[in-house]
Symmetry: C2
Subunit: 151 residues, 2 copies
């Protein structure tokens, strides 16, 4: 029983210490996850953009719902960029994601922060505030895509 | 100017009256969206399942985070099942999604309701309550997949 208890304790420790990438059984699961999360985020961000840019009528409730989802989704993709997930043929991530991890982390943190501000702005129902926050958030998308995503 | 105003007003009316499927520029965008949302939901539901089934140690905070995401994602995919989205080669949706819309809607509503209960259970931190709610939610996944998704 003692050795079983030790193995169980070690397994627990491993599970607690495991990096985020270990949440995925296979690297391709991590790639699918991060791409799915980014895709859902992009859809809702695009709907906000259509309102911010005057392409569709502004609807405060819709804006708030979309911004809430953007802020939620913005936190998710990063766990999917673990070691080994650069090899998947569907991945568009540049090697810099892993060779410049500090910069990549700063970029993802910036998106999370700006999308939280966008969410807060959308909750006020003030279109001008949404436009400002939308532009700031869009800048974080672009700077990361330019630096870290293959065309 | 008058005719322009009429066109603009008509466009606005159309936008307001447009069904959810019109939120997507192309049917393939809708398919990608619904599959992405279901995939993200499945990842977080799977993590809850690993805890509910004792495959990984129970962590109340992680369970609550995952359940919150499941409940959020559960509301999203259905807007992506609009008319014309059955033709995409990536779609696994059976024709019954469109020929039995009432049943399909009831199934998606059931998932939304059960995942909200799962979210509430996870917030209590009670593993036994989570297990019950997880099983009920999993049943809604299975019954819809059996009836509406091609293997």
């Amino acid at each position: 029983m003692k050795s079983f208890a030790c193995i169980a304790a070690a397994a627990t420790l491993f599970a607690l210490a495991a990096p985020a990438s270990a949440q995925f059984a296979k690297p391709e699961d991590a790639v699918k996850y991060r791409q799915s999360a980014l895709s859902v985020m992009g859809t809702h961000f695009g709907r906000l953009g259509a309102m911010a840019n005057g392409k569709v009528p502004f609807d405060a409730k819709m804006a708030a719902e979309n911004a809430d989802l953007v802020a939620t989704m913005a936190k998710l993709p990063w766990a999917g960029f673990g070691p080994g997930t650069d090899k998947d043929p569907r991945s568009k991530a540049m090697a810099e994601v892993w060779t410049e991890q500090t910069k990549f982390k700063a970029g993802s943190d910036k998106l999370i922060a700006e999308s939280a501000k966008l969410d807060a702005a959308a909750k006020t129902g003030n279109l001008d505030a949404i436009k400002v926050a939308f532009a700031a958030t869009a800048d974080t998308c672009k700077s990361c895509h330019d630096a870290f995503r293959n065309k």
